[in-house]
Structures are given as C-alpha cells and as structure tokens.
C-alpha cells in the first residue's frame, strides 16, 4: 500500500510537469498577425476569489453575457478568458497574468484590470505588448491623469467610468451643499479604495467648514458595534465607503439601534439595492441604475435569465460597456486590415474611435479628447426610499 502511494505521488508529480510542459504558451511575438475569422481572445482580469470576489464574480457574469450576445451580432468569434487576481495577494497575480497574456498571440484585449493597484502594476507590460486594457472599475486618478509629474497608466489603458477625482468631490459637495451637514464622520477600511475616497472627501469637507471625524477600521473587521458607539450623537452624515453593501446596511441598522440619527452615505461599492436598502441612506455611483433605462430592458432581462441567482449591481454594467467598446475596436481594426489584424496594437489604436449610441449607462458614449476617460464622466447620487428603492437625486 505504502509503495503504491509513493508511486501515485510520483505519477501525480510527473503529470503536473507533463501537463505544464504540454500546455505552456509558446513564443509570443507582439506583432504577429491574426486572422479576424479565427477565434480571438479577450481576458477579464478581476478578483474572482478572495474578499473582493463578489465584485469580480459580478463583472465576470456581465463580461460573459456581453461576449455571448454581442460577438455573434458583430460577426466576431471571441473567447473570454478569466484571470483571477485575489486582492489578498497584492499585485503579483496581475503581473503574472500580464506576462501570460502578452505571450498569447491570439489575445487582443483586456477587460480590466479591475483594481487600480493591479492596473498600475501591469500597465507597462500590456503597453509594450500592444494590448489595450479597458477597465470598468479602476478609478485611481493617476492612471489616466498626470499627477505630480507622474502618470501610472499608459496610452493603452482606458476606463469607461470616471476617476476618483470626480467621485470624492461629487459626494463631498452634495454633503456640504445639499444636505448642509455640520458634523460628518468619514470611515476608511485600511485598503486603497476607501482610503483614497475618504481622504478626498474629508479634505473637501474640511475646506468647506464642515466638522470631520475620521474613523479607520482594519479591513478584517466584521463587527462595527464599537465604531457605531464612537460615532458622536450629533453626527449628520456617516460616509461609509465600504465595498460590502451588507456591511453598510448593518451599520445603518446599528446606528438606529443606538438611537443615532446620522444617515449612511456609501460610495460606489455600497451600491446594491438588494443589500443596502436602509431608508434615508445615500449611495454614489459611476453608473445610474440601469433597470430604469428603457433601452437596457432587454439586456437586463437577458442577463437575469443567464444568472438567475445574482442581483443587479453597479459593477456589472460598465463591464458590459467595456466589452462592447473592445469588440467595436476589434471590428474597426479588422475592417482596416481587411480581415486581418497586422498586430494586436491595431486594436488599441482604434479604441478611441469607438462611440456607442444607446450606451448601457444611458445616453451616448464618447471618449474624452484629453485623457483615456469617458467624456463628461459623471457620478450619480441616489437616495434610498422608504421602500428600499434607489432614487436618483443628483
């Protein structure tokens, strides 16, 4: 028996090696030409597992749906690859994936990377390999703007949602001017998304004479009771930029439990009408609630049919949009090359030519002429109604 086990392990070991050797991607040449009638690949790079897995799962479901419905319409054969970048492991998985995709001549575009850290770490690799990236959620400002003489993204990095330099001030201005709050508590969760947002919101509020208290919770925190206790009773608004909508809901309920009347203001991460629905709360998002857009009704219904257990969130629709832009760019590039892509850089050179009527987030999609951001990027603010639904207020 023992010997059989040894043999088995040796065999497993040999199989691993054999599989790896057999399937490893071969030599890649960035300028290799590809026929448009063959199956082209695009890859979704997002945290599918780990603490942010909910975000990646939602994005992935929309990317799959977009590829399966849009590609046949456009006469393209597209295979969607999935790259998992769990946030627990920092930027290393994103870097490995970038090398993997750079080495794959059939891969012509990246949807993502979804987190700003991953986008920054892998931008150079993709740029040099001529691969366009369209991120539906990396909102760190220096990815497309030059900040302090430095730009972390490359000309091949695009995003179809506005940057943090829009979100923070939008939220802060609404709190200071419309809600006329005097005392505000601003949370962060010791991770880049909330810390960036919290810093920009509190600096705006402070400069507008609002009294700001900062609270910082380790991102492993599950029970916020003692933080609720620490929120001063005269607080008008608690800014709670969590990426876990149920946490925002619980926080709002626990505020009430202690008889505190502050309203909870979530960022784009808290936007999930099925999970964060405490009446009186607010969320901000780069996308309006697309279930209210008539031209999207068919898309939403189709996606729901394909994903019966999932709820419509805020990260999915921009992903659908990113796939749509990418496929359009591929189509333009294919038309230019008369059925062949001379190199995949052709795709990235054509991304900015794409405009989309009946954009999934409403209106028409156009790129800004100055940066790789959408033109007139706007953050929407919703108030949660007494029946739990979201109403656009700004």
């Amino acid at each position: 028996m023992k010997k059989a086990v040894v043999v088995a392990f040796a065999v497993i070991a040999a199989s691993i090696v054999a599989t790896a050797a057999h399937g490893g991607p071969k030599v890649a040449v960035a300028s290799q030409s590809v026929s448009c009638s063959s199956t082209l690949q695009i890859a979704m790079v997002t945290p599918i597992t780990g603490a942010a897995g909910f975000l990646g799962t939602e994005q992935l479901s929309w990317a799959k749906y977009a590829v399966s419905t849009l590609a046949p319409q456009m006469g393209l054969k597209i295979q969607l690859l999935q790259g998992d970048t769990p946030v627990e492991q920092g930027a290393a998985p994103a870097l490995t994936l970038a090398q993997k995709y750079a080495a794959d001549p059939k891969l012509v575009g990246i949807i993502g990377p979804s987190t700003s850290g991953d986008a920054e770490a892998s931008a150079q690799t993709y740029f040099h390999a001529g691969i366009a990236q369209i991120s539906p959620s990396a909102t760190d400002t220096p990815l497309t703007y030059t900040v302090n003489g430095k730009r972390l993204g490359t000309p091949a990095f695009f995003r179809d949602v506005p940057a943090n330099n829009v979100e923070g001030p939008t939220i802060a201005a609404y709190i200071a001017n419309t809600l006329k709050a005097k005392n505000v508590v601003v949370f962060d969760f010791q991770e880049p998304y909330s810390q960036g947002l919290a810093a920009s919101i509190s600096s705006y509020l402070t400069s507008h004479g609002v009294n700001v208290t900062r609270l910082s919770a380790p991102n492993t925190t599950t029970d916020y009771s003692s933080y609720v206790t620490k929120v001063p009773g005269n607080t008008n608004v608690v800014v709670f930029p969590t990426q876990q909508p149920p946490a925002a809901q619980t926080f709002a309920e626990q505020l009430v439990e202690q008889g505190k009347s502050a309203v909870v203001f979530g960022g784009d991460g808290a936007d999930a009408p099925a999970q964060f629905k405490y009446p009186g709360g607010y969320v901000a998002n780069f996308a309006p609630d697309i279930s209210g857009i008539p031209s999207d009704a068919g898309i939403v219904a189709g996606w729901k049919k394909a994903n019966p257990t999932m709820t419509l969130g805020s990260f999915g629709p921009p992903t659908y949009g990113a796939v749509q832009i990418m496929l359009n760019a591929i189509k333009i590039a294919c038309a230019q090359g008369k059925g062949t892509l001379k190199s995949r850089a052709d795709v990235f050179h054509n991304v900015k030519k794409v405009t989309i009527k009946n954009w999934i987030l409403g209106g028409t999609f156009k790129w800004s002429t100055k940066t790789n951001d959408p033109l007139n990027g706007h953050f929407y603010i919703f108030k949660i109604q007494s029946n739990g639904s979201y109403k656009l207020v700004n």
């Binding site: 597992t49 380790p218 003692s226 933080y227 609720v228 009773g233 909508p245 009446p279």
Partner: protein
C-alpha cells in the same frame, strides 16, 4: 414601512460619560460571548486531543451559512412562516446539528488517522481542512456577504424592544445573544462536570493512556468532544450572523480570535475560555472606543503576545508537568 424609527433615548454620550462606557461594555460583551463560544470548542478539543483545531473557525462559518439557509427556507426574516422565537430556535438548532455532523466527519477523516502521528501532522491537516472548507463554501456560494436581516424580524422588535440601563438602550437581540451564550456555557459545564461522559472527557484530557487503561472508550470520548465543540461553534455562527453579515472567509479571523480567547483563559480550561472570550471582546471594544481604531488589532495582538510570553498557561490554565 415608516421612515426611521426614533427610540426615545438620549443620543449623545460624550466619550468620558458612564453611558459611553456601558455602551462599549455591551458591545464587548456581545462579540465577546461569540468569541467565548468559539473558544470553548478550541479548548475542549485541545483538552482531549492536544490539537490546535485550525478548522474550528471554518466550522463556525459553515454554521452561520447553515443558519442562513434554514432562515431562508423558513421564509426569510421579513415574513417567516413560524413565530419569531421558534424561528430563532430552529435556526440555531439546525446550525448546531449540522456543525456537529461536520465536526464528527472532520475528526473521523482528517484527524483520527493521525492520532499517533507526529504533533505537526494533525496541525497541518487542520490547516488543510480550514482551507478546504472556506474555499468550498466560496466555490458553492460565492464570496459575497450574506445578511440574516434580523432587523426585519417582526418589524425590528429585536432592535427596539429590550430595556434601558442608565439611558443606554439594551436591545433584545443583544440580550438573546449574550443570554443564550451563557445558557450554552452552563449546559456545557453541566455536561462536562455532572455526567459520566463528561467525567470520561476530563479523564481523557488529563491522561489519555491512563484513561484508556481504565476502560474509557477514547474514540467515543473524542467524537463526543467534537460534537460538543462543533455544535457550540454552530450556535456561535448563528449568534454572530444575527448581528453581522457572514461570508466564506469569515472563519479565519474569528477562529483566530476564538483561539486567542482560549489562550487568554488558559487553553484546556472551560471557565477560562468563557472569561477569555469576554475579556477579548471588551479589550477590542475599549481599545476602539477610548484609544485608537486604526491600531486596535495591533493593541490586541500585542497584549496577546505579552500574555503568551509571560503567562503561557493563561488565567486559569495549569502548568504542564513534563514527564520524561
């Protein structure tokens, strides 16, 4: 649904007031009683097997998921098909039963074959089980948070009923959490100290070989211990998730806290685990309330390291006499 229920209480306690202290203590007690239940499982299992069951936190997580499933099956928090008290009892019992089965399976397949292996072997196996459980749950149910929505149970009764202590509102949900944790501890104490099986457990924990020679069925005792410990973890999972959303990765952190509580109390000691849990919960709460929120983990872990170095046997533990 009315807009925002307004309890009649004073809403503003300054940081130095007595009310602030009471509220923080209440917060500490609530989460501390969850830690205590998790710690009890650690302590029981360590007592009989001398095994750090790293998978215990994940059993806790599975318990909270079972509770969620049963809650949804019974109509969800908004319109349950049974009265609220029965709903809570059923959810808790289901989680306890499910976890007990899980505990027995884990023991049977991952630890029993290693009973006589080097000490490191079951420890690594436990890490494997922990990895396996949390990722399996994530594979099947996703990484998102699940909310029991206990706020909706009979129109917020669990949040707004209760009593007032010096103008601090003590809601029913917290009373239920703390109360049932203590009730379970009493039941456990009774089982361990007043029954034959409990006596066998204590004997096994004191000296396994001698117990075996006296005719105690060690396997039965160990299975019984796993049933007890895991059922407590299941109950803790439900009590935790009644207040806080649960998710597949919650087991590691909570397990670590529970283990910490067991160590503070003195691992192997049942009253120690209870006291340790409450102390840890309060330490966290007071640190966050009076001092710093950003560094609260640092403070808690530093206290622990100091504790382990200067009093490794914990508050109630006994010093092991090493036989050579």
């Amino acid at each position: 649904m009315s807009d925002r229920p307004t309890p009649s209480l004073s809403k503003h306690y300054p940081g130095e007031s007595l009310q602030f202290f009471i509220q923080l203590s209440l917060d500490g007690l609530t989460i501390g009683s969850v830690y205590a239940l998790v710690a009890l499982g650690y302590t029981l299992i360590y007592g009989v097997l001398k095994l750090l069951n790293f998978a215990h936190g994940d059993v806790f997580m599975v318990g909270s998921f079972i509770g969620y499933g049963v809650l949804q099956a019974l109509g969800g928090a908004s319109n349950p098909v049974v009265p609220v008290w029965l709903l809570l009892v059923l959810v808790t019992l289901a989680a306890m039963a499910g976890c007990a089965v899980l505990g027995v399976v884990i023991e049977r397949f991952a630890y029993r074959p290693l009973r006589n292996a080097p000490r490191i072997a079951p420890l690594i196996s436990a890490l494997g089980v922990s990895f396996f459980l949390s990722n399996s749950m994530q594979l099947e149910f996703g990484a998102q948070q699940f909310n029991y929505a206990s706020y909706n149970l009979s129109g917020g009764a669990l949040y707004f009923h209760g009593f007032d202590l010096d103008h601090v509102h003590i809601p029913l949900l917290r009373i239920i959490t703390i109360g049932s944790a203590f009730a379970l501890m009493v039941v456990l104490w009774f089982l361990v100290n007043r029954t034959r099986t409990g006596k066998a457990m204590r004997a096994t924990s004191f000296d396994r070989e001698a117990a075996a020679m006296l005719g105690i069925d060690i396997d039965r005792v160990i299975v019984f211990t796993f049933i007890l410990g895991s059922a407590l973890a299941g109950a803790a999972g439900v009590m935790f998730a009644l207040r806080v959303p649960t998710f597949a990765a919650v087991g590691f952190t909570t397990g670590l806290k529970g283990f910490t509580a067991a160590v503070i109390g003195g691992i192997g000691s049942i009253p120690g685990a209870m006291v340790g849990g409450i102390l840890l919960g309060c330490a966290e709460s007071y640190t966050a309330g009076y001092w710093t929120t950003a560094w609260s983990d640092l403070v808690v872990f530093s206290i622990l390291i100091a504790f382990m170095i200067f009093r490794p046997q914990g508050l109630f533990g006994r010093v092991d006499i090493r036989k050579v």
